[in-house]
Every structure is written in structure tokens, then in C-alpha cells.
């Protein structure tokens, strides 16, 4: 393994449409580290994950991002994925008529850069699906079509488990999950992390509850497009106790004239 950090973000500015959403984000995630990113709605958490994954509508106007030492921003989203970056979407897309089985197998082929026989694929799939307590029939459904909130999230983590990425961005994976499903999904994430000890993680969440299952090494708070506070897991507990109001009062920019 290289000694390069898994992810190195320097002064990242991102614009969507006409509006600057990220206004200089700095973040370093070393291999094997778990970072939590918290912050009120609209602070730019999803924007960060989309920009890192390479969504064409999220324009980088300033800053740089190194992924295992390489310039991430020069790569298309597919190349980023093949190199081991993974985003569990907050709102996964419905693709009508595409079977989950077919999608997952093609995804794996792309990641591995070689054919994956149906037999080999089935074996891995069964293993990972039982890890997440998913039923076999699931893969015969169409991609995200009619999935419940919980099914969508489970399916995102199933993809993560199959791909074994080197860096995962989990965007509000806990939302839409009831307490049992949350435990199963988090156990799944931990199992993947335990198997891939170099895997870095950015856990985007609104609440503390997911962090009870996945213990972060660091916690950052994003507010109005900037990381305003970083600390250890105690920061998340503090936030939970006082709410985002504290942050807002401390960091709210005076209205521009």
C-alpha cells in the first residue's frame, strides 16, 4: 500500500448552477480511517459527495483533490469508481427495466476489469446478501424501482460490499432505516471494513445514531459550505446534546450587504 492518504481535499470550491455551495473544504482521510461528516440540512454534504464522485453538474471552481496520490478531478466518474471510490447515494436512481442482478454483475466486471462468471458472481452475491439479510428474489427486481427507503439503502451497501472500494462516501445511509435495519446495515458496513482494513470512510449523517454502530475516528461539521469544526467522536455526542443551533450561533456569517 502506498503511504499516500486515501483522500486529500484542499480548498475545494464547488458551484451548482450559479451558486457556490462549497466554499473551501479541507479534509484528509488516511487509509483505514473512518470520518463522520455532520451538518444541518443544506450545508453541502451531498454536494461534497457528488463533487468527489464527479457529477458533471457540480463544477469545481477552485482547489484540488488527490485520491491515493492521484488527481481525482481529472478522472470521469467511471474511472473514479474503477479505481476504488464509492458513493452510497442518499437518493439512488431508478433505472427502469434494468435487473439488479445484471446491474451488479456488470458493475463488478467494470471494477475488476475482467469477466466475472455467473457462477463466481452468484457465490459472492449470496454471501454478501446474507450479510445484509437480503432475500434472493431481490436481484430479480428492477433497479431501485418500487424499492422502499430501507431497500434502497441496503442495496447501496450491497454494492459497497461487492465492490470492496478503497474509499467509501456514505451519504445519509441511515435515513429511511428503522432501528433493526440500521443495525443490520451498519453491521454489514463494519464487516466490509473489517475485511478491508485499508478502506477509508466518510460517513455523512445528520444524526448521532449511526455513529453508535460505526465508531468514527474523526468527526467534522460542515456548515454553509465549510468545515467549521473537527474533533473526535465526542463532538458528535456534543452536537446531539445541543443540536445544530450551537453551531449556527457560533458560525453563522453575518448577512452580506
Amino acid at each position: 500500500m502506498s503511504q499516500q492518504p486515501a483522500l486529500h481535499i484542499r480548498d475545494l470550491h464547488v458551484t451548482v448552477g450559479e451558486k457556490e455551495i462549497l466554499k473551501g473544504v479541507d479534509l484528509v482521510i488516511q487509509a483505514g480511517e473512518k470520518h463522520a461528516l455532520m451538518g444541518p440540512n443544506g450545508s453541502g454534504k451531498s454536494t461534497l459527495s457528488y463533487a468527489l464522485m464527479g457529477h458533471p453538474n457540480y463544477k469545481i471552481t477552485q482547489g484540488e483533490v488527490l485520491f491515493q496520490g492521484e488527481n481525482l478531478l481529472e478522472m470521469g466518474p467511471d474511472e473514479r469508481a474503477r479505481k476504488g471510490l464509492f458513493l452510497a447515494f442518499q437518493y439512488p436512481m431508478v433505472i427502469p427495466g434494468v435487473k439488479v442482478f445484471q446491474f451488479l454483475r456488470n458493475m463488478l466486471k467494470a471494477r475488476r476489469g475482467r469477466d466475472v462468471s455467473v457462477k463466481e458472481f452468484r457465490k459472492e452475491l449470496n454471501e454478501k446478501m446474507s450479510l445484509l439479510d437480503m432475500k434472493q428474489e431481490f436481484v430479480r427486481r428492477y433497479l431501485n424501482e418500487g424499492f422502499s427507503g430501507g431497500e434502497k439503502k441496503r442495496h447501496e451497501i450491497l454494492q459497497m460490499a461487492l465492490l470492496e472500494p478503497s474509499l467509501c462516501l456514505l451519504d445519509e445511509t441511515d435515513s429511511g432505516l428503522d432501528i433493526d435495519a440500521l443495525r443490520i446495515v451498519c453491521d454489514g458496513i463494519n464487516a466490509v471494513a473489517a475485511k478491508n482494513t485499508d478502506m477509508g470512510m466518510l460517513i455523512i449523517t445528520h444524526y448521532q445514531r449511526m455513529l453508535n454502530y460505526i465508531e468514527p475516528d474523526f468527526v467534522h461539521i460542515l456548515f454553509e459550505g465549510k468545515i467549521v469544526k473537527s474533533g473526535t467522536k465526542e463532538l458528535a455526542l456534543e452536537l446531539e446534546a445541543h443540536g445544530y443551533e450551537l453551531i449556527e450561533n457560533e458560525f453563522r456569517q453575518p448577512a452580506q450587504v
Binding site: 473514479r80 427495466g97 434494468v98 445484471q102 456488470n106 458493475m107 467494470a110 469477466d115
Partner: protein
């Protein structure tokens, strides 16, 4: 029925195998190959005259009534003006520049080994012999205008099912042919049905006796291969009371330069309680005019399903129709159309509700790319007194770029109040968000688009036998690559 079961088992094994191949991106698949062209036993001169019609009939040793039938149709063809709707491309057809009859082989072949080598090679590349061995009940493979290969499995014969080419059908079962041919689609229905009636050659003739359920699809594979050559198949399928049959035809045409005309007539008759499914995939080369008249009559409680895929050709005009004549009859038309550069797919569906409590479902999917044009032209008609009619029409169009085009021309003529008729049409393009989601999983832009397009037509592909859906996915892939490479 041991052979049928064996075939089905093999089909299952094959399905498991092909399932794994279904998504493989196979870059070896080729079409556009061409056989040597000096093999013809007889080739009529260009242009259409009474003399040619007489000659065709004489060469086929037809009964007098068939010659009369042809000659009357020729007159209708000459009298009828060119349709002034659909596409202005129609006016480019030069009827004087077409061979109306080409025969490549003198005698009928009974088994695969007897089929001439170069023809076999062509089918080989299309994957036919294998499919034939795997699960086909019988093949009528038409090479040029004449059937060269023809087989009927023994179990079908035992059931009393007739499955033969139309020329043999006329020779062997003249009374059935005389009774039904032209009763669903009269010669004068339109200019092209008249043309077909005058010069028809080949096609399939199927009769399924009362109560017989044919469990394996009957299949014909044919192609055209001569410049300026016309193809005028004539297909007639009769499913007697309570019987069922699935017929499949498909074509992959090689590429050649001068315009070519294909004008088939397909007539289906489903007697009381019978079921017919007719599956077509057509992929004519981009210079072919494909002007097909397809119509079915469904009697009481009968079901007719048209599954119709149109890729290729320069202009396709095809509107499969079901006349729901008996109470409780049901018609279903499921189609896809792909129009690339310079192509116009004017496809649609017609349902005539002529009896109470009849129902219909029309699903049309079209894709336009590189300036291609698709149109859906549909008619739903409900006669007065036909209470309890249910009809659902859905047209989805996918535009691959800004200079491609899609239109919908739905016509509803509902002369009865107590009916439920629904129509829904959508036009969409591949969304950035869908593309991003797939690419974020490592699929390239092309792979992601292909997956979305294949998903778009999956409602259609899932109705096809496995090897056809694999082939269709490959063809779509070739079409998609067309603009990239």
C-alpha cells in the same frame, strides 16, 4: 411428447447458459456479410407486368384460381394511388426497378445437411442451426424468394399441425388456402397488399387443429440478398378452436447499396378460444422499404398477440391489427422501433373492438438516434353496442439526441359509452442522473447508455425467446456503437 420435453429441458439449460452471456459485451458479432450472388436458378427481369405474374404462377404450377387471384390483385395494385400519408419517402420507390421473383434453389430441403453450404454458412453466422437444434419445432428458412430448407418435427405431424411454406401449403392444402387466403386482408386493402397478392412467394402456412397446444415456438428465418430484389412473403396462420401456437419470424439483412422493397402480408385467424402469438424482429439493411400489412381476426374468447420489433430498414410502415370479432376476445400489440440516421419507423397498432367485452393492450416503445425518426400511428375503434370494452394504449419514446424525432398519431373512434379506454404517451431522453448513477459504479458512458436503452425496451425483450433477446441486445449495441466509432 418426449422430444418436446427434451427440447424444453435443453432450452432451460441453454437459458441458464445464455443468461450469463446476456450482458456480455460481445464485440465479435458481425452482420453485413454477403453471399456470392451468382447462385440463382431463376431471376425475373425488373419491373412488374402481367407476363411476370403469369410466369411466377406458371413456375409454381399453381391452380387457375390462384393465377386469377394474382391477376385481379395486379389490377388493383395498378389502379391504386400511392398512399399520401406516412412518409414522403414512399414516392422514392421505383416499381420498375425491382425484381419481383428470384428463386435460388430448385427443390425443397428436408434436413439441415442438405442445405447448400454457403447458405448454411450464412445461417450459421446468424446462429440458426444451433437454435434450430436446441428448441425449434420446425424451421422454414427462406433464402431469397424461395424456401430452401424446411422441416417439421414428427411430434408436430402427429398432432396434426401443418407447418409449411406457403407455396407447399397451396399445393398440399389448396382447399384451406382457397377458403382463407385474403379473407383477413383483402387484396385491395391497400396498394401494398395488392402488390403482395399479385407476386407473393414464400412465407409460412400454419394450421393448428382444434384443442392442440403447440408448446414450442414455430420459427422461420429469412433474409434478402440481391440488389433491387423484392420480397413478398405471404403468411397465413389458422388456429382452430381452443388451440394455441407461437410463431416467430426474424431477419438480419446484409448491407447492400440499391433500394429494395419488402412487402409482406400476414393473416392470422384465431377461432373461438384459440391463442396466437406472432413474434417478429426485423433488421433490414438501411436501404429497404419495409411495408407490411399484418392483421388478425380474433373470434370469441380468442387471444392474439403481436410482438413486433423493427430495427433497420430505410422506411418501415407497419401497423399490426387485431379485429376483435367475438365476445371476450383479446388483442395485444407490443412493439419496439429503432430509427437511426436516415431511417423512418412509422409503426403502430390498430385494434377494432367489434364485439362486447373485448379487451386490448398496446405498448409501443421507440428509440430515435442520429436524426432518425419514429412515429406511432394507432387506431382504437369501438363499435356502438360493444359495451364492457377495455383498452389500454401506452407509447414511450426515447430520444437519444436533440436532432432525432418522435411523433405520436393516436386515433380513437369510440362509439359506445360503457367502455374504459386509456391512452398514455411519454417522450424522454436519457437523464444525466441515471447516467451518473451507473457511471459511479464504473460503467463507461457507452455501457451506461446501453444499459439504460436495454432497460427501456426490456418489456419487449422479456417476451422474446432467450436467443432472440440476446441477439436484440447485441443489435442495439451495434446501433449504439455506430455513432461512437
Amino acid at each position: 411428447m418426449a422430444t418436446v420435453n427434451d427440447a424444453l429441458n435443453e432450452k432451460r439449460t441453454q437459458r441458464d447458459k445464455t443468461l450469463s452471456e446476456l450482458n456480455d459485451i460481445d464485440r465479435d458479432y458481425k452482420y453485413g456479410f454477403h453471399d456470392p450472388e451468382d447462385k440463382y436458378v431463376f431471376k425475373s427481369g425488373k419491373g412488374l407486368t402481367e407476363e411476370i405474374v403469369r410466369k411466377i404462377s406458371a413456375m409454381k404450377n399453381e391452380p387457375e384460381w390462384m393465377l386469377d387471384f394474382r391477376l385481379r390483385a395486379l389490377k388493383l395494385f395498378n389502379d391504386k394511388p400511392m398512399p399520401q400519408w406516412g412518409s414522403e419517402m414512399l414516392n422514392d420507390i421505383d416499381f420498375n426497378n425491382i425484381h419481383y421473383y428470384v428463386r435460388s434453389s430448385e427443390k425443397q430441403e428436408r434436413n439441415w445437411d442438405d442445405v447448400p453450404e454457403d447458405i448454411r454458412k450464412t445461417f450459421d453466422r446468424l446462429g440458426i442451426p444451433e437454435a434450430e437444434q436446441k428448441f425449434l419445432a420446425g424451421v422454414t428458412a427462406q433464402y431469397e424468394s424461395e424456401v430452401v430448407y424446411h422441416s417439421i418435427r414428427e411430434d408436430l405431424e402427429k398432432l396434426g399441425v401443418i407447418f409449411t411454406d406457403m407455396d407447399s401449403g397451396l399445393r398440399e392444402y389448396p382447399e384451406i388456402v382457397k377458403k382463407y387466403m385474403g379473407t383477413v386482408i383483402p387484396s385491395g386493402d391497400n396498394k401494398f397488399s395488392a402488390l403482395n397478392t399479385a407476386v407473393w412467394s414464400g412465407g409460412s402456412f400454419i394450421y393448428v387443429p382444434k384443442g392442440v397446444k403447440v408448446e414450442i415456438p414455430l420459427q422461420a428465418y429469412f433474409r434478402i440478398n440481391t440488389e433491387n430484389m423484392g420480397q413478398f412473403e405471404r403468411t397465413l396462420i389458422i388456429a382452430d378452436e381452443g388451440s394455441s401456437v407461437h410463431y416467430i419470424e426474424g431477419c438480419t439483412a446484409p448491407t447492400y447499396s440499391t433500394d429494395s422493397l419488402h412487402s409482406a402480408v400476414v393473416e392470422l385467424i384465431a377461432m373461438d378460444g384459440a391463442k396466437i402469438r406472432y413474434t417478429t424482429i426485423q433488421n433490414w439493411s438501411n436501404n429497404v422499404y419495409n411495408l407490411v400489412t399484418k392483421r388478425a381476426i380474433a373470434h370469441a374468447n380468442a387471444t392474439v398477440e403481436w410482438v413486433d420489433g423493427n430495427l433497420g430498414s430505410k422506411l418501415t410502415m407497419k401497423y399490426p391489427a387485431v379485429w376483435l370479432k367475438g365476445e371476450g376476445a383479446r388483442g395485444e400489440i407490443l412493439s419496439i422501433a429503432w430509427a437511426g440516421k436516415g431511417q423512418h419507423q412509422d409503426a403502430g397498432a390498430k385494434i377494432m373492438h367489434l364485439a362486447p367485452n373485448t379487451s386490448s393492450v398496446v405498448t409501443s416503445k421507440s428509440i430515435s438516434k442520429d436524426g432518425g425518426r419514429t412515429s406511432y400511428r394507432g387506431l382504437i375503434k369501438v363499435l356502438p353496442g360493444c359495451h364492457g370494452v377495455k383498452s389500454n394504449v401506452r407509447c414511450d419514446a426515447l430520444l437519444m439526441d436533440a436532432h432525432s424525432r418522435s411523433d405520436t398519431y393516436p386515433t380513437m373512434q369510440i362509439d359506445e359509452d360503457n367502455v374504459r379506454v386509456e391512452h398514455e404517451a411519454t417522450v424522454s431522453k436519457i437523464s444525466d442522473e441515471q447516467l451518473f448513477y451507473l457511471m459511479s459504479r464504473g460503467l463507461s458512458d457507452e455501457e451506461a447508455r446501453l444499459m439504460i436503452v436495454n432497460g427501456f425496451i426490456e418489456e419487449f425483450t422479456k417476451e422474446l425467446p432467450m436467443e432472440y433477446s440476446v441477439e436484440l441486445n447485441k443489435l442495439i449495441q451495434l446501433e449504439m456503437e455506430g455513432s461512437i466509432g
